[in-house]
Each structure stands twice: as structure tokens, then as C-alpha cells.
């Protein structure tokens, strides 16, 4: 790929990226969220078309914007969601749409099951997997195995370039070993593997070269053995942010660091755990504090947040709000305890798209806005107008449909929903994901103001490291379901990233 440029309406996602993968090489591609990794790979896989630059596979230029062309050229991508059919067997899934046929019964071409089974068994063996998987129904497989099947499927048809997007995110250690075995076999077979991952420690074990992307530009492409985890982290992050790049609250003062030494923390979490997902999580957040939980994909951070809101309850440990122990079995319990949560996936978990802003705001507070089962619509509208003004939601009015709003304004609406009644604890999951720069600033301002008013404790779960360091008074790094490090304000990005990615040297 040479000189690839891609704009998204005013935002330059990629600025002249040169990237190459050799056959028989595992080339790791790293970068922060928004650095351009997924965009680059989407262009390679034909899902998007570059605005400028060329893509060539084995010397032949690839026509852009066509997944068919990419597949035909031997490029395949495996994403985190395995696109498999649960009711069909592994062998059927691998060959779906491209079945091997044989002639039988007077010239009719039916599926040559025997040949397919043989090929799939060979394939699985070649990749170092259990060949008996060929006849198992995909729905009976564990998620990790399904992912390996996806890889096998991609390999079966496209022998040249394989893009693996965060393949180890959901895997246990043992499963990762198997994955690495498969990747090494692919390398032996002469496939060029693009390995996208945040787990910097893994890269040393599996990749031959590393390319670091930052802000749409290639910062470095070097053999893996020349770089340490710290070095990669620093390349990803670039120059450190200026020391006083704090969010200025509307009052004009900078938020003091750790100003709350109040006796009683608002939120106290002790040895919280959920089998197989996270364990032994301790957390103490005082009024006015913003404590961030930072971790890579699959670290369990999002699950901790959900446990705090009762969506996926923990099975061990205690949570106390204002000194009172609370049982969080359902979101209702959480709301009653004064905990509010902004869900991470706005479209699926947050908005009622076909309904108005007022509807969206009041949906979590219907009891509060009602009297004897009667919804007070005038009050609902007043509350909506007030919040829209406070959060600067750009819309014609509270009756406007949320689906007509921009991503940033939609996000502000969902955040506003949490603020209808000031919560004691506000859990924010990815608050500025998919949001434009202006709205991002405003959201940061709102969060800081909320914390400073002293009425709420904020728990921030975000994969946006600069955002985390900007907002949080303390950062807890989570890795593989456990808190592994804690940083105060003023920490260096590279340190935090390294801790999250498993750099052993920096353990505190």
C-alpha cells in the first residue's frame, strides 16, 4: 500500500500511509484508537476506497471499494465478530457459497461432503488444530474456537494476505498459544499476516516487524526485535501532553488534584469479582473525584462498569454508596442506590432512535417525572430544555427525533439522561466514542463540572488514553481482569499504556 490517503468529511483519517507486508511475514500494526489502523485495513480489504494512493497485492493493483476484488486477489480479514452460521458445521461454514461439488446421479452436482471434510480436516491439521472439529456444529463451539474457525475459513480461500483484527482480545492464555501456533503456521505457508493488536507484549512473541501509526501517519516501521514495549508505547503516544493541559471548568479555575480527602468515599468497591471475567477489584471514589479504569480490549474494564450498574452483576465482593452496602442485581437496584451509567454502545444500548430528545431524556426517570402514574409532560419538556441548554445540544427543540442528530449530539443526549437527577455515582463508558472534536470538548467540560460541584463521584471507563489522563484524578489500569497499576494525575501516557499492555518493568 503506497501513499494511501483517506478523508472522512474534513477529518483526515490517513495522510499518505505507506505500508507493506511480505509473504511469510507477521507484520504487526499498532496505534491508538483513531490513529487510522482500522481505516487502513478496511481499504485493504476492499470495504472502503482510498481517496488517493494505491493498493497492490503481489504486484497487481487492487481496484478499490470492492470486497469481491480483494477476496479474489487473496486478501481476507478476520474481525472480532465471527460471521459464522451456528447451525452449520465447521466444514460447511468453511465452504459456504463455494462448495466442492462432485457429479453423481446422472450429472447432478451435489456437495462432495467427503472431499470437503477431507480438505477441512487437512486444513485444521495444517493449522495445528483438532481435526475432529470439522464435523462439529459451530454453535457448539466456544467463542475462541469460533474465532479460530473464522481464521481457518479465511485461510482456506485467500492464501495471500490475512488481516487479524485484535484476535487475542477475547482469548485466555492457553487459547492465545493455540492462536499463535496457527499464525506461525500461516507464516510458514507463505501468508502475509497483518496482526493488529494493542497487546504490545504479544507482538514481541509473534511479529517480525512493527508499524506504528499515529494520527494517520506512519511513525515507524521496524523489525520487532529492535523495539521494546516501552519504545513502541512512546512511539504510539508521541510527545507528552503539556503538564497543565487540564480541562478548564466553566468557573475558570483548574481542577485541583485530588481535592477530596473527604472522610467517607462516595463509592467504595471491595474485592469485586465475576467468575472468569474480573476479580479482586478495589475502588474508592470520593465526591468530586474522577477515577478512570483504563484497559485494553478484553481486559474486563467494561464488565466492571456493567457490574457497577447491575447489568451484568458481580458474584463476589461488595459495593457501597455513601457508606451503605448495596446489592446491584439489576439496573433498577443501581438507580435506587444513586448510580447512573452511560452505556458504551450508543446505537444499541443508548438511544431510542425513532423517538424525540425529550423521550430519550425522560426514559430513565419516568417515575420521577410522573404523579400517580401520570406523566407530567410539561415538566418533561422543561427538564429537556434545561438540559439541552446546559449540555449545548444542538437541535431545534426537545421534540426533535434523536435519529436526526449528529453523533456528538446524540451522545450528549444520552449523557444528559444520566443528569436529569444528579447521581451520586456516574459511570461513563466510552463517553466520547464516535464524537466530533467540538462535542468531545463540551462533554469533557460537563464531566469535570459535575465532579467539581462535589455532588457526584465519577468512574470513567475509556480506551482513549489522552482523554483519561485529561479528566481523571486517578487512573487504575486493568489487565486480564485485575487491577495491575494505579497512577495519579500527571502520569505519562507511555507509562500507562505500557502497564496496560503488559510491560513487566513498570509494575508498581
Amino acid at each position: 500500500m503506497a501513499g494511501v490517503v483517506k478523508r472522512y468529511g474534513g477529518v483526515q483519517a490517513l495522510r499518505g500511509v505507506d505500508f507493506e507486508v511480505r509473504g511469510g511475514e507477521v507484520h504487526a500494526l499498532v496505534g491508538e484508537n483513531g490513529a487510522g489502523k482500522s481505516t487502513l485495513m478496511r481499504i485493504l480489504a476492499g470495504a472502503e476506497r482510498a481517496d488517493a494512493g494505491t493498493v497492490a497485492v503481489a504486484g497487481e493493483t487492487l481496484a478499490g471499494g470492492s470486497t469481491q476484488a480483494a477476496i479474489a486477489a487473496g486478501v481476507a480479514a478476520v474481525y472480532q465478530e465471527p460471521a459464522l452460521f451456528g447451525e452449520l458445521t465447521v466444514a460447511e461454514n468453511v465452504f459456504l457459497g463455494r462448495e466442492l461439488r462432485k457429479r453423481s446421479l446422472g450429472g447432478l452436482r451435489r456437495v462432495d461432503w467427503a472431499a470437503q471434510r477431507r480438505r477441512v480436516t487437512e486444513l485444521l491439521e495444517r493449522l495445528g488444530l483438532d481435526p475432529s472439529l470439522a464435523d462439529v456444529r459451530v454453535a457448539d463451539l466456544a467463542v475462541a474456537e469460533q474465532q479460530l474457525v473464522s481464521i481457518a475459513k479465511a485461510f482456506a480461500h485467500s492464501a495471500r494476505v490475512l488481516i487479524l483484527d485484535e484476535p487475542s482480545a477475547i482469548l485466555t492464555d492457553r487459547e492465545i498459544e493455540v492462536l499463535f501456533g496457527v499464525v506461525r503456521t500461516l507464516r510458514q505457508e507463505g501468508v502475509g499476516v497483518v496482526y493488529i493488536s494493542h497487546r504490545l507484549d504479544e507482538l514481541a512473541r509473534i511479529s517480525d516487524r512493527v508499524t506504528v501509526l499515529r494520527d494517520g501517519v506512519v511513525v515507524a516501521t521496524r523489525p520487532t526485535r529492535e523495539l521494546s514495549v516501552r519504545a513502541v508505547a512512546e512511539l504510539m503516544v508521541g510527545h507528552e501532553l503539556p503538564a497543565d493541559n487540564r480541562v478548564r471548568a466553566a468557573t475558570g479555575s483548574t481542577s485541583a488534584a485530588g481535592s477530596t480527602s473527604a472522610a467517607e468515599p462516595v463509592l467504595e468497591v471491595r474485592r469485586l469479582g465475576r467468575a472468569g471475567v474480573f476479580e479482586d477489584v478495589d475502588l474508592r471514589v470520593g465526591a468530586g473525584e474522577i477515577v478512570a479504569l483504563y484497559g485494553l480490549v478484553g481486559s474486563g474494564v467494561a464488565d466492571i462498569a456493567r457490574a457497577l450498574f447491575g447489568v451484568a452483576p458481580a458474584d463476589r465482593g461488595t459495593v457501597s454508596v455513601d457508606g451503605r452496602v448495596v446489592r446491584l442485581r439489576t439496573p433498577h437496584d443501581a438507580t435506587r442506590a444513586g448510580i447512573a451509567m452511560l452505556p458504551g454502545n450508543r446505537a444499541v444500548q443508548g438511544v431510542f432512535a425513532s423517538k424525540s430528545i425529550a423521550f430519550n431524556l425522560s426514559s430513565a426517570h419516568l417515575g420521577y417525572l410522573s404523579r400517580w402514574g401520570w406523566l407530567d409532560r410539561a415538566r418533561e419538556r422543561r427538564v429537556a430544555e434545561r438540559l439541552m441548554a446546559r449540555l449545548r445540544v444542538r437541535a431545534r427543540g426537545p421534540a426533535m427525533l434523536v435519529s436526526a442528530l449528529s453523533g456528538g449530539n446524540q451522545q450528549k443526549t444520552v449523557i444528559a439522561r444520566q443528569l436529569v437527577r444528579t447521581p451520586r455515582v456516574l459511570v461513563l463508558e466510552e463517553p466520547t466514542q464516535g464524537v466530533d472534536v467540538g462535542a468531545k470538548e463540551e462533554i469533557h467540560r460537563i464531566v469535570t463540572e459535575l465532579a467539581e460541584s462535589g455532588s457526584s463521584a465519577v468512574v470513567l471507563v475509556s480506551s482513549d488514553l489522552p482523554e483519561v489522563l485529561r479528566l481523571a484524578t486517578r487512573v487504575l489500569v486493568v489487565r486480564r481482569g485485575k487491577v495491575v497499576a494505579e497512577f495519579d494525575r500527571g502520569a505519562r501516557q507511555a507509562d500507562v499504556l505500557a502497564a496496560a499492555a503488559g510491560d513487566q518493568e513498570r509494575q508498581r
Partner: protein, 348 residues
């Protein structure tokens, strides 16, 4: 053309586009327009001597008798379909039969009529609640659960009196509930005023003004977001199916009174009552995927279909009219589904 002309053209086109959008999104308005078209059409046929009897106000007033059960059951379907996740209720007709039999037994057994009515409503509520538990708590797909209860309830209704209707004297006296009353010279069945209108108002209030109504639309639009908004999705859906059962109970009272007899196949004869009810709900703007639909749209749709059917009975001899009603229902359903798809896709 001149610049002025082209801007006027553009403005007219924009106005037309606005009008189309308005019609497609405000279902009640579109149906009102279609209703006028239907009325005018039949008046024209009448003038041309094509009808066997006059399609006049008196006839339309008496035709309202069939509006009552249809509209109430369509409202029941509104509740369950809006609740989302494939919500539907195939058993409403069977509930009408079974609750109706309970009603008949009570009345024939000498119970005071108001008490018997209460029993009937309670029966409907209970039967609806069973549907609710099956779908909301036990997670059966609504199509399957209500198919099973359709079988179960219609079977029980048939067995309850050995397939025979209950038409003893006390039951026959119930027809007084549905006798027409004189409204400005027109004979309107009284249960339009005593039962349909109050129910319409009540359902409208619940759906549009109450807290529960909001929860219903939230759950139907996006039950994951509703969970994150701390709403109890299962409870909301249970209430929807229970409410549908209650409305079916009301229809049971009306049906028994109307025919002066409690028939075990009242709601299941022919294709059953559930089918037209669902058709009218979809025509009235209720989206099959949930979260969308208004009481006004459904009421308007019921009225349109009732008066259309009434006209068809006059336009054709003998039993042909009822046959053409089937055709009309089928065509209207596909047409309204297409409308729903188009308007959701363009203005969603």
C-alpha cells in the same frame, strides 16, 4: 421558463413533497383521507344505482355495530405489537370465546350482570397474563406462545358447554346492552357510546399520557436501551399482554350481548378475530418490529375497514359482499405494509 416560474415550480414541488411526507408519516390523517375517498366512492355507486340499499348515514350508523369488537381487538394487538421483540397475539379470538363462555355461565347461573361482567373481564385478564408470562418471562417467541394458547383456549371454550352455546333467558336479555339508541334520528348501537368510546379514551390515555405508556414505547423501540434506562422490560411486556386480554374480555361481553348467546366459537369461527385485528393494527400504522403505532391510527383504520366492508355488502348480491371483504382486507394489508416500509425508510 423564466427564473420566477422555475422558483415557483420548485416551491410547489417542495410543498408537494411536504404533503406526501405528512401523509405518509401521519397515518391517521392518511386514513381519514382514504375514508373520505371510500365514502364518496360508495355515494357515487349509490347514485349510479349500483347498490342494493342506500349507503346513507342511517346505514353507516348501524354498521358501527361491527366496529366495536374490531376496534377493541385491534387496540389489544396495538399493545402487544408495540411492546416489541416480535410481539403478536394470535389468541385474542380464543380469549373472546372462553371469557364469553365464563360470562354466559355466570349470567345463566343467575348472577347479577355487573358481577358476571367483572368475572368476564377478570377471565380475559388472566388469560392474557398467561400469554405475558410465556413470552416475557419464559421467553417463548410470541407467535408460538399465542399459537399454543389459541389452541388451548379455543379447546377449553368448546369443551366447557359441550360445544353448545348458552342462550338461556337471562343471556338473551343481555341484548339490551347493544340495542340502538336514537341520536339525532340515527340509530346508533348504544355500546358504541357505552363501551367503545370509553375504552378508546382509556387506552389512549394509558398509551399517550401515562408513565406505563412511555415505558411500553421505550421497550418496544429498543429493549437493550430500556434495560440500561433501568426499565423492567419483562414487566412492561407482561402488562401489555394482560391488557390485551382485558380488552378481549370486553369484546367477549359485547359479543355475547350482541348475539344474545354465549357461543364457544365466537372468536374463532372462520379465520378468527385475531387476523382482522392484526390487519387493522398494521393498517393503522403499527410497525411489526415494535415501538411505533398510535391509537388514533388504529381507530381510524378500524372505522375505514368497517365502512368499507359495509359498502361492499351493499355493492354485491347475497354473500358475495362478504367475499369481497376478504379481498379488500388482503389488498389493504399489503398496501399498508408497503406504506409502512416506505415511510420508515424515508422518514424513519
Amino acid at each position: 421558463m423564466t427564473a420566477a416560474e422555475s422558483t415557483t415550480n420548485a416551491r410547489e414541488r417542495a410543498r408537494l413533497a411536504h404533503l406526501v411526507e405528512y401523509l405518509l408519516t401521519e397515518r391517521a390523517v392518511l386514513l381519514a383521507v382514504l375514508l373520505v375517498v371510500v365514502l364518496v366512492w360508495f355515494k357515487v355507486l349509490q347514485a349510479g344505482q349500483y347498490l342494493v340499499a342506500p349507503y346513507d348515514l342511517g346505514y353507516l350508523a348501524s354498521a358501527l355495530e361491527s366496529l366495536v369488537p374490531l376496534c377493541l381487538l385491534a387496540l389489544a394487538e396495538l399493545l402487544v405489537i408495540v411492546s416489541g421483540r416480535g410481539g403478536i397475539d394470535l389468541s385474542v379470538g380464543a380469549i373472546v370465546s372462553l371469557a364469553g363462555m365464563a360470562f354466559g355461565f355466570c349470567v345463566a347461573g343467575g348472577w347479577p350482570v355487573p358481577l358476571a361482567m367483572l368475572v368476564c373481564l377478570a377471565a380475559g385478564t388472566l388469560l392474557g397474563a398467561v400469554n405475558g408470562v410465556l413470552t416475557a418471562y419464559l421467553r417463548f417467541p410470541p407467535l408460538i406462545a399465542t399459537l399454543a394458547t389459541y389452541y388451548a383456549y379455543s379447546s377449553l371454550a368448546m369443551v366447557s358447554n359441550d360445544r353448545a352455546p348458552i342462550s338461556t333467558e337471562p343471556v338473551q336479555r343481555l341484548s339490551a346492552l347493544t340495542r340502538p339508541i336514537d341520536v339525532f334520528g340515527l340509530y346508533v348501537p348504544r355500546h358504541v357510546f357505552t363501551i367503545l368510546l370509553p375504552c378508546l379514551v382509556l387506552v389512549w390515555l394509558v398509551v399517550n399520557r401515562s408513565t406505563y405508556g412511555r415505558k411500553l414505547y421505550a421497550v418496544g423501540t429498543n429493549d437493550v436501551a430500556a434495560t440500561f434506562a433501568a426499565l423492567s422490560v419483562a414487566r412492561v411486556r407482561l402488562a401489555a399482554y394482560t391488557g390485551a386480554g382485558l380488552l378481549a374480555g370486553v369484546v367477549a361481553v359485547v359479543t355475547v350481548a350482541q348475539f344474545a348467546s354465549a357461543r364457544p366459537d365466537a372468536g374463532t369461527v372462520g379465520n378468527g378475530m385475531a387476523l382482522p385485528a392484526i390487519t387493522i393494527a398494521v393498517l393503522g400504522g403499527v410497525a411489526i418490529q415494535g415501538g411505533i403505532g398510535t391509537v388514533g391510527g388504529v381507530a381510524m383504520a378500524a372505522l375505514l375497514v368497517t365502512w368499507l366492508n359495509a359498502g361492499l355488502l351493499l355493492a354485491f348480491e347475497g354473500s358475495e359482499g362478504s367475499q369481497y371483504q376478504l379481498l379488500a382486507l388482503g389488498v389493504v394489508l399489503v398496501g399498508s405494509a408497503l406504506l409502512n416500509t416506505i415511510s420508515l425508510r424515508r422518514y424513519g
